[in-house]
């Protein structure tokens, strides 16, 4: 392979990461922020967001693309937190209680999501996105009307003055950073929330272990080729539902971890951007619709959030308005998702064209045909294209 071809292949594979690194590094000097400050922010945001982004991995392994339906799990986590605040349960007890309340809700929502996605094979991403809008309507009805009227709420401080419905913003002071503050380590002037990172590490170990189990292998087989997996006796639809249920449950726990770090809950829209930012982070980390790893999660969270930290101040210094930086965040987030999808489509099409070319007499034809079948770059996957 010529050097130019090698460069094009490398660039197409890591285009999102490269562009992001360049933009972020370029924005650091005008922002005027110290490296220490940026590093501390990245550590905090790694603890806050990594769990949510890790929730995206299993559906990708199962060939279901990027699970925008994780928003459903986030809503379940929020309902759990509302009940924890209502009962006045504080500290990590409150977080565990919220998880226990959110768990059955997220399993139920994940099951519904899985059922719907099984009826929309190959269009899982857009289906998940729209399903999240639909369930959001039910969530709004539940929180705005049911809580306080049908389901009694003892804590009047969180109920709207009309007597039912939850206030727009909930103060999570009783559980604020209760997980992060269980054990805090001060290393080289940096504050590290140890327990939060231990939980994230445990999830990573779980994912590595899960991939080696029978169910994990089934998921990978389903992700590579559903027809072959079905012929091999793997219950394809059930496996896909399990993948989505686990993802939704993890998103529920992830949203609880995220909100305990933030310390307040925007009751009606905190979950709106959960899926969007998690997906943007994993794509920035070098993942694609069909291929992702734990490393992609951490690289993505670090890159995306370092840009989030520097962009408002860089916008302020360069254009005289911090809002420019805020717009930049949104623009970059959506841009990254769009670019990844375009690159994925382009690579798939190019791999198909190369395979056709090799069938006409090129060498290594069989290898390339397999590459087309398995998706771009030999990565597993047959679905997930929105």
């Amino acid at each position: 392979m010529s050097a130019q071809k090698k460069f094009v292949k490398f660039f197409s594979q890591y285009a999102v990461v490269i562009i992001f690194v360049v933009i972020t590094v370029a924005a650091i000097p005008p922002s005027g922020l110290s490296v220490k400050y940026i590093l501390q922010e990245i550590i905090t945001r790694l603890g806050r967001n990594s769990f949510l982004v890790l929730a995206l991995l299993l559906p990708i392994y199962a060939g279901m693309g990027l699970n925008f339906g994780m928003t459903l799990g986030a809503m379940a986590g929020q309902i759990g937190l509302i009940f924890a605040v209502n009962f006045g349960i504080s500290n990590w007890h409150g977080l565990l209680f919220a998880l226990l309340v959110g768990l059955p809700i997220s399993v139920f929502l994940g099951w519904i999501c899985g059922l719907v996605m099984n009826r929309a094979k190959g269009r899982e991403m857009v289906t998940g996105y729209i399903l999240a809008f639909f369930i959001n309507g039910i969530y709004q009805f539940f929180v705005m009307y049911m809580l306080g009227s049908v389901i009694p709420m003892g804590n009047r401080a969180i109920v709207l003055s009309r007597g039912y419905g939850i206030r727009n913003t909930l103060n999570l002071e009783s559980v604020r950073q209760s997980l992060d503050n269980i054990l805090v380590l001060h290393v080289l002037g940096f504050t590290v929330p140890v327990v939060t990172f231990i939980i994230i590490a445990l999830l990573c170990i779980f994912i590595v272990w899960f991939k080696k189990t029978k169910l994990g292998q089934d998921m990978r087989a389903v992700g590579q080729d559903m027809v072959v997996a079905e012929a091999a006796g793997i219950p394809v639809e059930k496996t896909r539902i399990v993948a989505i249920i686990i993802s939704t449950v993890l998103a529920c726990a992830g949203q609880i971890i995220f909100l305990q770090n933030m310390g307040n809950l925007a009751t009606y829209n905190a979950h709106d951007q959960t899926g969007f930012f998690a997906v943007a982070a994993i794509l920035v980390g070098g993942a694609s619709v069909t291929h992702a790893s734990i490393a992609n999660v951490f690289i993505g969270v670090m890159l995306l959030h370092s840009m989030f930290v520097v962009s408002p101040l860089a916008g302020q210094k360069l254009f005289g308005s911090a809002m420019i930086g805020e717009y930049f965040r949104q623009f970059i987030g959506y841009g990254v998702i769009a670019l990844s999808l375009v690159l994925y489509a382009w690579r798939t099409r190019k791999a198909a064209a190369d395979a056709r070319l090799s069938l006409r007499g090129g060498a290594n034809g069989s290898t390339k045909v397999r590459a087309v079948k398995n998706g771009a770059n030999g990565a597993p996957g047959n679905g997930g294209q929105a």
Partner: protein, 164 residues
């Protein structure tokens, strides 16, 4: 699937459900937060009087000094707690254990009652009750004047004082 496997599976699922519910109840019991008001005021009927300087600590929280008329609050988690009172006069220390009812949000501890050994020294506190009590006991004796907004205007039918 044979009958034994079915029964075993059902038993495991039932057991998990029980553990789940027990865990939830445990979180409510051990994690529920209560506000404790620490009060150092005289009794309305004069049965006890405020302590002339003391230090009060709840559980392992930082202690605070109280003087007559003071009232402060402490947040506690769970139901069983300890209160340690160190009275400055005579350097007497009293330690007592108390329980907070699960569904009670705010409790008030009257430290003078506690020191004098008058029961109950810990009672549930509700704002509505306090307002009602204040209304029942009537307005404070003596005339209330609002100096900053000038002398009180005479009521209708009331004789105005003669002007010089």
């Amino acid at each position: 699937m044979n009958g034994a496997t079915k029964t075993r599976r059902l038993a495991i699922r039932g057991g998990l459900l029980v553990i789940y519910v027990v865990l939830m109840v445990l979180m409510i019991l051990t994690g529920r937060r209560h506000t404790i008001l620490i009060d150092n005021k005289d009794a309305a009927d004069g049965s006890y009087s405020a302590i002339n300087g003391m230090e009060v600590a709840i559980d392992r929280q930082e202690s605070a000094e109280y003087y007559p008329g003071d009232r402060d609050k402490a947040m506690v988690q769970g139901q069983t707690h300890k209160i340690k009172v160190t009275v400055f006069d005579g350097n007497k220390t009293i330690e007592k254990e108390f329980k907070v009812p699960l569904w009670s949000d705010v409790m008030i501890i009257s430290v003078p009652k506690l020191v004098a050994g008058i029961e109950p020294w810990i009672e549930p506190f509700t704002m509505a009750e306090q307002i009602q009590e204040a209304q029942e006991s009537g307005p404070p004796a003596g005339e209330t004047s609002f100096q900053s907004i000038g002398p009180a205007q005479p009521m209708e039918g009331e004789q105005a004082p003669p002007t010089p």
